[in-house]
Symmetry: C2
Subunit: 286 residues, 2 copies
Amino acid sequence: MKIGFIGLGVMGAPMARHLAGAGHEIATTLNRSPLPQGLTAKVLSSPTEVAEVSEVVILMLPDTPDVERVLTAEAGVLAGLKPGTLVIDMSTISPIATRRFAEAVAEKGGSYLDAPVSGGQVGAENASLTIMVGGAETDHDRALPLFQIMGKNITLVGATGAGQICKLANQIIVALNIEAVSEALVFASKAGCDPARVRQALMGGFAASRVLEVHGERMIKRTFAPGFRLKLHQKDLTLALDSAKALGVSLPNTATAQELMSACDRDQDHSSLVKALEALACHQLG
Amino acid sequence: MKIGFIGLGVMGAPMARHLAGAGHEIATTLNRSPLPQGLTAKVLSSPTEVAEVSEVVILMLPDTPDVERVLTAEAGVLAGLKPGTLVIDMSTISPIATRRFAEAVAEKGGSYLDAPVSGGQVGAENASLTIMVGGAETDHDRALPLFQIMGKNITLVGATGAGQICKLANQIIVALNIEAVSEALVFASKAGCDPARVRQALMGGFAASRVLEVHGERMIKRTFAPGFRLKLHQKDLTLALDSAKALGVSLPNTATAQELMSACDRDQDHSSLVKALEALACHQLG
């Protein structure tokens, strides 16, 4: 299949490589960086040209304004979109903006899926991403063979925007579970307990989580190199809180976790949220 | 071994039954209720008399004031304690009061372990409790054969009080994970997504937890019969926050979760915390 792939960063590059490796023809356009190593792709001069030669256009970009620009700028995707083309946005962006983008694509005769992922760089490289899809079932079925090349746990969550909503729900839970483990371990540590023993004792019961396992260990061993950068997680919580505000939903603990992130070094792994709690307690785990 | 067991409620009764079933001689004293069915035990008229005939005295009581009364009242355990007797408090109570109780027992020539449990009624009945122990290693080693009759995952966390601290850390994580799943599912549901599909999509990734599995399902299916009563969880968070205050540790999300519990029917399962978030959103999951 002729696939346009725009956004060849730490996530996009390995995803595109898997698609090319499975025999698909990749077209792309480059912003500042050169073509990633090991990827065979036709390099064109604009998103419009990419759209003109593609049956499916995949976007994997940092944030909502990037997707907006790539789609709607003068030399953007929409200007070159042929009827019947499927646009798949795999970035994590605003669910509200997502609905606007889907409408703009539909006006050009194309169709649109939002399909953000979780699993990070490791998941992208191992083709084991979780993919959360919003859109029409026929479009999902058309994209499924491509998703299966890049990921493992693929769910059609609902209509347009549902993929983004589901991804934000994921980011809420991960952030609040990190906050939970942080509060518990700082409390135990300040009370004179060895946090490693506490974590071990809690692993078998109802407190068990992937976050207690992975991020809890990072907090105890003080390994805060990313991983997933705190600033990206804060961006996602801001998206969630903006959407929640629009929907009339109050998310008190999400709001507090997002706020505490402002007191952290946001280029470190998101498990370093524990440092904000340590600062409040004037006491380190390590 | 001659074991005094005081507190034969929903947790204590099956625990004492397992000890009796393993051949230990149980002595007890009854408050209001009769001797639980299927338990063979010598019934004495006061905690003092129980202490007089026991090598080990186990307490399994609702809260700090209950333990204080059973230990220190006129006909309490301390009045009958022989030198060398081991007192094991398996209740979930204040870690600060625990240190006082351990000192009072030591003054009588006895020794003391705090050994609160998690796993609930089901864990007590299946002898699969997680047991978190604080105290001296020699006392832990002496109690270990008894713990192994009642539980599975047994950890000596640290000195006196460390068992209670660890249990409170457990309760912090479980409460905040319930809050996390509540905020995420109410957000997704209010945004028009099916919360069951969202939960399913998130089960394989970093949002995975026992709480997403068990309590998330309860929220979606609206099965709020306890389980673990919200009022007991709120009691435990209050203990954690009181201890944190004494230690100079700030636990912002624990404080909010505890506060939201006041707006719930506290005789329901703790997963019904989701209803406080639904009330804030004027919207139900079901």
